[in-house]
């Protein structure tokens, strides 16, 4: 190697995965430098002021996917992580009629959909549905549990003679076999289905089906009738049960505070984090990644370069196609990275006036997806670059659990609003205000008078997310989570094991297995891969 490396590892991007990766590497004794373009750590997982005195988690607003073991190992609580709420309930809001409590407080994870006695007793859910819900939930939990071991593993390569790959495949098969023949056959039957048909098989209540179905398409480029949505749902449940005991949680101070704790964990291990330091490109010498060039022109050399950036940005912008063969570049070009989830933030002069919503429910997650047809219709528009007149939403009111986010007595509403197509036909310039009005009108139907409480509004479209957080396409998961962008073909064949065709260059972002959401598993798996496969300093 020409010049000697200054670091064992340089991590491009201080998103949560980059930080988890850096912390893991640092604690394993590697010298680590993290480079972040923006002035703060966290990437899209940050807390910021969007209206005077009102702060909100700009990206994901709930923490429910990060493995408890990972939280423990990184000692995040000793690094300042506090919880504003854990085991938050899930309630379905209905435009006509009382809300439906879908999952009670402290519902176990992987069982985020556990029936709540109150709800079962209430007129909203029939006894039959309540019974079906518990058997359905139990079954989905068993299936999800069978998938859990996939998460912490590097996806196997196909067709290699490498025994670790073969074993990984066998292990996968074995997990499923362990379910027993009856369950295995049922899993085989449903795993390729769409969530619409699955829920039609089990339940009567349109409201219940709508609520259960939303989790299958949140952040996905799908409607409930798209084949593969049972997989996305199982996947979410599997991640939740891998996450362990806390269920839907809200970090005190928002996702930003959570990432600050991650950053402290990394620096405590000796990692150096430089914010406001945009990387211009990846240095390649003799077909090997040997460091990075900053936009300032500064060169930083390292044994291993690990990119938290999305695959398209990493390969096409930072590395450059000239270092890759055309087939690989074509695959990268074809990664579907267009986001469909918008994020709406409201500054409110009081608690949002949701009709008939209990104080307990207001502390939790509110779903606005009255029926599967409703979701499907909302999705239909997105296929043609339009948005629906009544979008579906996942809503939280973080300031209820965490008053530090808003002035005394006032509140913040945070909603994931779908579907907001990245490539809106009319363009987001003119579409933005119409989208906001549409969302507010939709909310008004379940929270009469809400409009009059609004002091400030912020909408993040996928286009905004792309620009502000440097995520190509503005997709939560950096790339659609779907059968054809899954496991050993995620993000693309040849880079699905966190290694890339360029020795010394690794991926650690949501574009890799097992994907996005504030999970951190991609970062952790990538770190392990660097530790076993990467170069060490002499």
């Amino acid at each position: 190697m020409a010049a000697s490396a200054q670091y064992d590892c340089v991590v491009i991007g201080a998103g949560h995965n980059g930080l988890v990766c850096a912390a893991t590497l640092a604690h394993a004794g590697r010298s680590v430098l993290v480079l972040e373009t923006s002035a703060h750590v966290g990437g899209a997982a940050l807390t910021r002021e969007f209206a005077p005195g009102f702060r909100v988690s700009a990206g994901a607003h709930l923490l429910h996917l990060m493995p408890a073991a990972l939280l423990r190992e990184l000692k995040l609580e000793s690094h300042g992580l506090e919880w504003a709420a854990r085991g938050m309930p899930t309630t379905a809001l209905l435009p006509d009629g009382p809300p439906l409590l879908v999952a009670g407080e402290h519902a176990e994870p992987g069982r985020a959909l556990a029936p709540d006695p109150a709800a079962a007793a209430g007129q909203a859910m029939s006894a039959a549905d309540a019974a079906a819900l518990s058997s359905y939930t139990a079954q989905m939990r068993r299936f999800a549990a069978a998938l859990v071991p996939m998460f912490s593993k590097v996806p196997p390569r196909l067709g290699t003679t490498d025994w670790s790959d073969r074993l990984a495949l066998l292990r996968l098969g074995w997990q499923v076999r362990k379910l027993g023949r009856r369950d295995m056959r049922e899993l085989l039957r449903i795993v390729g289905m769409n969530v619409y048909d699955l829920l039609e098989e089990h339940f009567d209540s349109a409201a219940l089906k709508g609520a259960l179905g939303l989790d299958a398409v949140l952040g996905a480029n799908f409607g409930p009738r798209s084949p593969g949505t049972v997989l996305t749902l199982l996947y979410r449940l599997a991640a939740e049960s891998a996450a362990g005991a806390s269920g839907l949680s809200q970090p005190k101070g928002g996702m930003g505070a959570f990432c600050d704790a991650l950053a402290r964990a990394a620096t405590a291990g000796g990692a150096v984090i430089r914010t406001g330091t945009p990387v211009a490109g990846i240095l390649v010498e003799a077909d090997r990644a040997v460091g990075v060039t900053l936009e300032s022109g500064e060169h930083i050399r390292a044994q291993n370069v690990i990119s938290n950036a999305d695959p398209k940005t990493t390969f096409l912008k930072l590395l450059g196609p000239r270092h890759l063969d055309t087939g690989f570049v074509r695959r990268v070009d074809h990664i579907r990275t267009r986001g469909l989830a918008g994020k709406l933030h409201l500054a409110l002069n009081r608690a949002p006036p949701f009709r008939d919503v209990s104080a307990a429910s207001l502390r939790g997650r509110l779903l606005l997806s009255p029926s599967l047809q409703h979701i499907e219709h909302a999705y239909n528009h997105s296929k043609y670059g339009e948005f629906s007149a009544s979008p579906v939403m996942e809503i939280t009111v973080p300031s209820v659990n965490d008053p530090t986010l808003a002035p005394a007595g006032q509140h913040v509403l945070s909603a994931v609003v779908q579907y907001a197509p990245y490539a809106l036909k009319e363009g987001w310039q003119s579409g933005r205000q119409r989208f906001v009005d549409t969302a507010l009108d939709t909310l008004e139907r379940v929270a009469p008078g809400l409009r009059n409480c609004v002091l400030g509004v912020e909408l993040l479209t996928p286009l905004d997310i792309e620009r502000e957080f440097h995520i190509n396409g503005g997709h939560w998961h950096h790339a659609d989570l779907a059968f054809d962008q899954f496991l050993m073909v995620r993000p693309v064949p040849g880079a699905a094991q966190y290694r890339t065709p360029v020795p010394g260059l690794f991926l650690c972002g949501a574009g890799c297995h097992p994907g996005g959401g504030v999970m951190g598993v991609a970062g952790r798996n990538a770190a392990n891969e660097v530790l076993t496969q990467g170069l060490k300093s002499p």
Binding site: M184, G192, M193, S226, P227, K383, Y384, V489
Partner: protein
């Protein structure tokens, strides 16, 4: 007819798969009786005279998937089957103009490059990759899918075979295959082509007969399913059966009888009889009982197990999964007698592309919107149509100077959101289709002498296909290979000993392919300890 006790096997339904199964069993020396509800045989592969001297292929209308090994073994040409390949095909564009299809590779390349030079290049890659997938799947068509939930040596052997073939493609191709089987036709085509018209034309086969849109994951496979046609061993070649699709089943019927099989038409089976947990024969609607130790059902699984068998004889879990088997009506059909040849101004005079499949859907978005209508329980306001005028190539179907047009329509629901089908609604559906065609053919309406309009409801009632699904079950990834019809029962056997399935509900699915019938016969013979 034969004396009951001589019978070895009864086949319920004289569709092409029932007859194929019958042929193989009869050739193996079994005494086989085929029972058909209708007064004529053929199921959905029939030629019918419903108006004067016009012959309609009034259900299935193209011959492309029929396995050549079956055609050879059963000597179908000897029994009168003659297949004439399409001479072209095309998609007409809304604003005039068209994309023509030629079987001559270079001609096709030139045609595509009229729309996009880049796509003409991409077409090489595209056809190579599609061909590769066909080659991977072809040998699997005539095999019994393994049961991954079983430890039986045979299943493990077959799983290994599958794995070996898969492995044999090499690492890169394996990934391509994984993706191909699970992605949407729209995404698949986006990876090759830029021109809307080119994408729209190739996307067509991905929605035919399926309750999926071109953007639904899994539709790429359906696209390929239709490419598995095998005339003259050129993958994807399509053709007309001389005399209409009935020629296929009448040749099968003749071959079957020549090997000693018996056919009774106009004999509807009311129940498959089970005694002491195994098949004992069937009861006809008029009460007559016919006994045999083997009953092989050509009906779809829903009809076989829910309508024709006593639920007490079947496990609850099995029945639940059969009830949840997805078999949705999504296709309609018009059969039109024409006073002459309609003009299509978009197409140059004398171009061969009117002597093949003609389409008028020139964007994938149109197809997807047509699908959205179906999801909401409406027939597509701008339907995808696959129209053919076989009489240009096969004059035997019509009186001199007249023509027959077959129009396949996607999408048309089995149940309408606004209540049951009525004569008026059927007519309105027909008008929608006719107007769609008339937009591209000024003299079309004036030429119409007679039009038979068939909704999924009509198809169910006449042919007996549940919900009028032409494939006897959705070809979605959750219902393919060892999942077809349901996991654990993909090997043509049912939970009841002696009761078998041989219809398109089983692997490898629909289309006039005959593979399910042949595979079922092989399973029966193996269970009898005879080498097929």
């Amino acid at each position: 007819m034969q004396h009951p006790q001589d019978l070895d096997a009864i086949i319920v339904g004289a569709g092409h798969n029932g007859l194929v199964a019958g042929c193989y069993l009869a050739r193996a020396g079994l005494k086989v009786l085929v029972l058909e509800r209708q007064p004529y045989i053929g199921g959905a592969a029939v030629s019918r005279r419903l108006y004067k001297d016009f012959t309609y292929s009034n259900c299935s209308y193209v011959c492309s998937l029929l396995r050549p090994e079956i055609m050879r073994t059963l000597e179908l040409p000897k029994y009168g089957l003659q297949i004439i390949p399409y001479e072209g095909g095309c998609t007409m564009m809304q604003g005039g103009g068209h994309l023509a299809m030629y079987d001559n590779h270079d001609a096709l390349r030139r045609e595509i490059s009229r729309h996009s030079k880049r796509d003409a290049e991409a077409y090489e890659r595209y056809s190579r990759d599609v061909m590769r997938q066909c080659k991977f799947i072809k040998p699997l068509l005539m095999r019994e899918p393994p049961d991954p939930t079983s430890f039986k040596p045979r299943d493990i052997k077959e799983l290994l075979y599958l794995g070996k073939r898969f492995h044999g493609m090499g690492e890169e191709r394996m990934y391509d295959t994984l993706r191909f089987w699970t992605m949407s036709a729209a995404d698949f085509l986006d990876e090759y082509f830029e021109s809307e018209i080119v994408k729209a034309h190739f996307a067509g086969t991905s929605i035919i007969g399926t309750a999926l849109g071109p953007r639904s994951p899994g539709s790429a496979y359906v696209l390929l399913h239709h490419y598995m046609g095998d005339i003259d061993d050129t993958v994807g070649a399509w053709g007309f059966a001389r005399g209409g699709m009935g020629a296929v089943t009448s040749a099968l019927g003749a071959s079957f009888q020549a090997s000693g099989g018996t056919i009774r038409s106009g004999a509807p089976v009311a129940e498959i009889l089970v005694r002491n947990g195994r098949a004992s024969g069937v009861a006809l609607a008029d009460g007559e009982e016919i006994h045999a130790k083997l009953v092989i059902s050509n009906m779809d699984v829903r009809r076989t197990f829910l309508d024709t068998m006593d639920a007490k004889e079947l496990p609850d879990e099995f029945l639940r999964q059969v009830r949840n088997f997805k078999i949705r009506g999504s296709s309609g059909k018009l059969n039109i007698a024409l006073d002459g040849l309609p003009q299509f101004p978009a197409i140059p005079q004398g171009s061969p592309c009117t002597r093949g499949d003609m389409h008028v859907t020139d964007t994938i978005e149109m197809m997807e919107r047509a699908y959205d209508d179906w999801k909401d329980g409406r027939w597509s306001r701008a339907p995808y149509i696959d129209m053919l005028i076989p009489s240009q190539i096969d004059p035997t179907m019509v009186p001199d100077g007249k023509h027959y047009m077959s129009v396949f329509v996607q999408y048309c629901p089995y149940e309408l959101a606004d209540g049951a089908w009525t004569a008026a609604k059927r007519q309105a559906f027909g008008d929608t289709v006719i107007n769609t065609i008339a937009q591209h053919s000024p003299n079309f309406k004036d030429l119409i002498l007679h039009a038979e309009i068939r909704t999924p409801w009509d198809i169910e009632n006449e042919v007996g296909l549940t919900e009028g699904n032409i494939f006897q079950g959705e070809l979605t990834m959750d219902q393919l290979l060892f999942n077809r019809p349901i996991p654990g029962f993909a090997q043509y056997r049912s939970p009841v000993r002696g009761v078998y399935m041989c219809g398109s509900s089983t692997h490898p699915g629909g289309g006039v392919m005959g593979a399910p019938g042949a595979n079922a016969a092989r399973a029966v013979l193996r269970d009898l300890g005879r080498s097929p």
